[in-house]
């Protein structure tokens, strides 16, 4: 399963073989893609319009394009600082979060300890609590620690979540027990088995998780807004706030800022994309590769 376009088809579905069926499917996929892309296109279009034409029903209502919107955004906000903050918070939170999640999932799958099942059930239970409900308790904890307006407040609370642990527990339990047996006979301690065998084997799934976490973290808006006061500590999404005030909303600037926000994630996605497709049938991959 390497570099072939079989990867593009989800397990259980095979690519239709008939010429017309294939064409229909291609059309369907393109239509779906267009529907998904349209809001982004609209966003990009508005960001290039003059301020008085943002509500125009035409995609691009006037020429020349107003590239100056981007300059205005650049001049209004300390973008570099925001970018730095976003990047730093995302990197630490994803890096540490992934490591902690891997360790937790490994503990659940490879050790038997008292209360294992109850803990796992409790962890699953937290999936049912809506995130909004956690905002205030989390804020109080962070404030109590004196972390407000500091990087720790932005990064630490979102490092792990129950879904990530639960997902990796599923992935790790699909690793055939023979690998564990062989590794132990080969003299690998549990930590060596985890980092030298389990993690490389499950790399696609772990990368998927890290990417999802990155996107969620990059786009986080409400939390950074609550825990930061000074302009220096804000992240990119909070910057959007600057263009929507009581005096009215400057949609063209708001959209320009959104474009700036989205582009890095698109690049990140392209970088890890080729590892992601393999993650879909992860257990199947293990079998095929052995």
């Amino acid at each position: 399963m390497r570099g072939t376009n079989e990867n593009m088809w989800i397990k259980g579905f095979s690519k239709p073989t008939g010429r017309w069926a294939g064409l229909l499917l291609d059309i369907f996929v393109c239509a779906l893609g267009a529907a998904m892309l349209f809001p982004f296109l609209w966003m990009a279009a508005i960001s290039l319009r003059p301020g008085d034409q943002t509500m125009s029903p035409q995609l691009l209502s006037s020429f020349p394009l107003e590239w100056s919107n981007y300059r205005t955004v650049w001049e209004t906000l300390p973008l570099l600082r925001y970018f730095e903050n976003s990047l730093l918070v995302m990197a630490t939170s994803v890096l540490f979060g992934t490591i902690v999640t891997i360790c937790a999932a490994f503990a659940f799958t490879h050790f038997s300890f008292y209360g294992r099942k109850i803990l796992l059930a409790a962890l699953l239970g937290t999936l049912m609590i809506p995130e909004q409900l956690l905002l205030i308790p989390n804020y109080m904890t962070v404030a109590g620690l004196g972390w407000t307006d500091r990087y720790a407040a932005l990064a630490v609370p979102w490092m792990t979540n129950a879904f990530a642990v639960f997902y990796l527990v599923q992935v790790f339990s699909a690793v055939p027990r023979e690998y564990r047996f062989a590794a132990r006979a080969d003299g690998a301690k549990p930590s060596a088995f985890l980092w030298k065998v389990v993690v490389p084997l499950c790399k696609p799934s772990i990368l998927t998780l890290a990417l999802l976490k990155s996107i969620a973290n990059w786009n986080a808006y409400l939390w950074p807004l609550i825990v930061t006061n000074s302009k220096e500590m804000r992240t990119l999404p909070v910057g959007l706030l600057a263009f929507s005030t009581e005096a009215g909303t400057s949609y063209e600037l708001l959209m320009a800022m959104s474009v700036i926000l989205v582009v890095p994630m698109v690049f990140l996605y392209f970088i890890v994309q080729k590892h992601l497709v393999q993650a879909v049938p992860s257990a199947e991959n293990l079998k095929n590769e052995s």
């Binding site: 055939p176 690998y179 006979a185 080969d186 003299g187 490389p200």
Partner: protein, 338 residues
Amino acid sequence: MNGLSVAYGEKTAVADLTATIASGELVALLGPSGCGKSTTLLAVAGLLNSSAGSVRFDGRIMNEIPTEQRDVGMVFQQYSLYPHMTVYDNIAFPLTMKKWPKSDIRRRVDELAELLRIGELLARRPDRLSGGQQQRAAIARALAKRPKLLLMDEPFSHLDSSLRLELREEFRFLQQRFGITTLFVTHDQEEALSLSDRIMVMADGRMLQYDTPEQVYHRPSSRRAAEIAGHPPMNFLEAEGQPWTLGARAEDWLMADGDTALVRGRIAVIEKTGKDTLLKVRAPSALLRVYASAEWPVAVGQEIGLQIRPGRAHWFDSRTGSRLEAGPELSELRWTGA
């Protein structure tokens, strides 16, 4: 192993197993699937905890010693190589874990690769190897640290037959040359009989017999052990009200005339398998599998009289199934059905 038992919850998978493997011996654990042979292997490796009894290596009790420190090598039927590592890295893995210097690792891996004839494959990933090559690499990895004990779980079962025979023979040669003490699990009685120094016959979590292949084949300790070792399965004749069951292997029959025949029956099926001709003979309340000699005139539907070769009859206690040293005089018996 001394009185070794392994239990899963309420269920006992292996009970009260006692056996000693001499250094340098190749021992087969033979039995039908689910009989506890893999469980025994894992318990010896320390991958499963025993609920009673002890495992000793060279007299030292190993129960509390984790697998990592037991100095064992393992080969499995499948998933036996780490798929994300090259063959070289796979073989080197146990040595890397021991923090060997790189140059020593290289020397050892090259030496093993040559022995197992996988020298050109070292840079490949396991998914680019054939099944036979994978098992060779897996054996090389298991031997890399020169373990005290090699444990193999159905190592050849996944291979097609000619490859299986070839690799088996090669492995036997290596094993004898280097005196590698080996315990291997198989459900293939032929593999056990042809390869091993001693066979441990198991059924339902118990050891039925632990002996040389000759003894296991020619003097099975019980009816159950006789069924497990040998193919086609041994024929059994049970007589109502008699304390014994009579057993005879397919190759231990002679054609006999009316007066001297033990059994008379009609040939139901003739199977020619190259040099051998296997007859299925329908006798009263029994279907016998009998190898025919070349000179027997055989045809389907024909009536045939059979007698067991002298000294080749096995007698078992009809109630307990255990082996009896003697039975009635064969020539005085006439089989008429149960």
